[in-house]
Symmetry: C2
Subunit: 487 residues, 2 copies
């Protein structure tokens, strides 16, 4: 037995080296595929872009089909729009490579929809034209999440090209609505619990990034409750000269209630929110202390002279395990350049609150709605306030002592020759919690995105280094997972 | 002498009736010309539309030239953009019909640029396609100010068509930057003080509207100080999940300072502003009491259940002779439909304060800047605040006992057989004050727009009734002015 294990290990190393060389020599091809994918403006937040989202799903399915996967495009129904109309949701792609019952089965989750992006937002390059500048590949969706999805696909392709058996069965579930809350996916997972997911042992998500130049494994994400607060007054926009002084302006009301959400020092003022947060344990505090995180380089990366907190533990904790309120913007006012002397008739603030254990989105919805209604009532305004929660995604937290994470550490060690940081993610991957609750399977998040990839902002990029070495990490990880005892 | 005067009066009546019939029978032609003018998207706030603005000026000049006017297109220089570049200002059109030194000379001021408009703002019809619905002509710029300018042009045309001598010399000064503060016009007026304006006796402005269905003469306008308050933080937009809780967000800061401008009950909180306002006299109070103004129909027109004040005098006073603050919107945040989880890096609030006697824009600029800077300083934010005043237009106030107004009352009486209301305008006609200060001439504002024309908002319109009867009012007014003693 011992000599067999050694032989296997040796075989793994030989295979890994061979696969790794294959990845290196196919780098240009991988970049070209990423360019083709980034060119599709699969912005899921804009219903007018829905055909692009659907095309992106088709392209994903075709790619997996061409590789001989057992592929399905799963209809997940329609999305209801605010005006009561409906629009078809992008289909979900599922695929399967290998069904050997003696092997572990991993299921890779990813998404191919993206956040909005326009050149005039301040991009240095066309956001949907992948542009290589000094080894960085700039483009909307490059890092979030098209390159990681492709790196997983290329992992399977490399094995196939070299006629090496996959050490585990690999399944894919790729969606097109992640950026707007994975609408429809929860129900699809529930529906396929006993079919597609029945033989899945582990779920792997690579929809996040490292914290520094050191590779990382991610064991938690924040959830997100996204709110619209709409204040409606006159039946149409009014001239601010002709009517200013006679009407109670919806924008003034909206600014007034938004200003009661959070204090200048970052304290959330909505009653009940802070009380629900799990306290920071000594063990956690210690863990944060040991993480590689350079405050000065973080500050210089985002270009600010001062952060909300000045020490590492407070910063990481408020990034990962405390809630926060962000006001994203106001729809309905005059938001163009130049000047316009208008009293907007209806204005809609968009804000969101990141969720952490032990917050509950249903409770948060009530807390926020009640609070804003009470604050608004004090203004005695004749305008109408309507608060709606359009996304309510729960946080997710894994056990870092699980063998999945041990396997992850070993894979990182093999490819990068360092220990990974164990980190959490301030952002939200809405589906992680659903996977856990519905399938009961363990989940690992294995990011390959860089710490400075600019997700959701201008000039998003994926470095060639992370894209290519990340593909190797996935190859190494499949070998490690193959050795885990089946649950 | 007496019999000559009677003869003149009789001649006037005969002429007026003849001219009036001519106007009635050319109604369709007038509507078509208005349609051609509205079709030009002469939005002066959008520099990309500058060629359209220039084309609008050319069309205006050509029209006046074809009528045999002595026309000039006056170059008024360039506009400096925020990025330091410059763009040519639309030329100003001047024209002259008649130069008989024994006659009075009136100068009609108007503008042919418009406010922004998009179908998706909530227009029921294409904003640049003039659409007749039940006698209302819907289109951006229809009432503000293209139809009134055309009504003046048609007035001169009618005399020409019927070979009736103009009772006064008529000059025109038509600009294309009114909606953004009449950039460049002040200097042009100063420059032409002793040339174009040297023989002008009176200036007539028809860039406003009635207060009710009763015709009105306007004797005052509010000025306007338009501010940009920019808060800049990180060097680019950030993902609100990844960075929320660690950065001090510019949007939170901006909302915080905006909320200190005005109280829920409409009280301006900027120190010094309210103190500068001229007190309401008993005479004024009495005058407001007598004005025809139906609060209920005003409420139902704008679609609100409650106004800032519940009695007529307070309402009219706060509309006309007290300052007000309006927050128009925020540039740089997420203002589209749907959701986006962004921390905007730089946000710019647009707000304006209507000016009344005895406020001084230069003082207001300092009051607002100092106040916002002090409020911002209390937040101890590392973000940068920049307050700029991009428009500083003074209020204007005329003496209603001036013969110009007596002539106006007589003309209204002839055409509509009622006494006009003497009203003020909450909006701003930046150039009125300049005309007065530079030329020393008396000014009258003679509106023909309806009380419900929707200036600056969706579904702006001009009724056929006001367009056609307004043209007759101008004809009648020229006769009345002809009888005034030369100053």
């Amino acid at each position: 037995i011992k000599s067999f294990t050694v032989f296997c290990s040796l075989l793994n190393v030989v295979h890994y080296d061979e696969l790794s060389q294959y990845v290196d020599s196919h780098q240009e091809e991988y970049v070209q595929t990423l360019r083709d994918w980034v060119a599709v403006e699969s912005d899921s937040s804009d219903v007018l872009r829905r055909p692009d989202c659907q095309r992106m799903m088709d392209m994903t399915a075709e790619k997996l089909q061409a590789m001989g996967g057992k592929v399905e495009l799963v209809d997940i129904g329609v999305q209801e729009l605010p005006d009561g109309k409906t629009v078809a949701l992008p289909k979900v792609v599922t695929a399967q490579f290998g069904s050997d019952p003696s092997k572990q089965t991993v299921c890779v989750y990813g998404h191919v929809d993206v956040q909005p992006a326009k050149l005039e937002d301040g991009w240095a390059t066309e956001p949907y034209n992948l542009t290589d500048i000094n080894g960085n590949l700039y483009g909307r969706g490059a890092s979030d999440n098209k390159a990681p999805v492709l790196a997983w696909i290329h992992t399977v392709e490399a094995y196939q090209a070299l006629s090496i058996d996959l050490p585990v069965n690999v399944k894919f579930i790729i969606e097109g609505m992640e950026e707007t809350g994975s609408n429809g996916l929860d129900a699809m997972i529930v529906a396929q619990k006993d079919t597609f997911f029945s033989d899945v042992d582990y779920i792997i998500i690579s929809d996040c990034g490292w914290l520094s130049r050191r590779p990382a494994l991610t064991y938690g994400t924040r959830g997100n409750c996204y709110f619209f607060a709409e204040v409606e007054g006159p039946k149409q926009d009014l001239h601010s000269g002709v009517y200013g002084g006679t009407v109670i302006e919806p924008m003034t009301d909206l600014i007034g209630i938004l200003d009661t959400l959070i204090s200048p020092s970052g304290k959330i003022l909505i009653p009940g929110i802070r009380e629900a947060v799990a306290p920071l344990s000594d063990e956690e505090w210690k863990m944060y202390q040991d993480i590689e995180f350079d405050i000065e380089s973080f500050k210089s990366k985002i270009g600010v002279s001062q952060l909300m907190y000045s020490n590492k533990v407070d910063l990481l904790a408020h990034r990962w395990r405390y809630p926060t309120v962000t006001i994203h913007g106001i729809e309905g006012g005059f938001s163009g350049p130049g000047s316009k002397t208008v009293i907007p008739a209806k204005v809609i603030a968009k804000f969101s609150i990141r969720q952490v254990p032990n917050m509950d989105p249903a409770v948060v919805k009530k807390q926020v709605t009640d609070y804003l209604n009470s604050v608004f009532a004090k203004r005695k305004s004749p305008n109408k306030l309507k608060v709606t929660m359009i996304i309510g995604a729960k946080p997710w937290l894994a056990d870092t002592k699980h063998p999945l994470y041990e396997a992850g550490k070993a894979a990182v060690k093999r490819v990068f020759n360092v220990e990974p940081d164990l980190i959490r993610e301030g952002g939200t991957i809405p589906i992680a919690k659903t996977f856990e609750d519905v399938t009961g399977k363990s989940i690992i998040m294995m990011p390959i995105g860089g710490f400075d990839d600019g997700l959701h902002s201008q000039n998003e990029k994926m470095s060639r280094y992370n894209y290519i070495e990340g593909t190797k990490l996935f190859i190494a990880y499949l070998h490690e997972v193959a050795h885990l005892k089946k649950d």
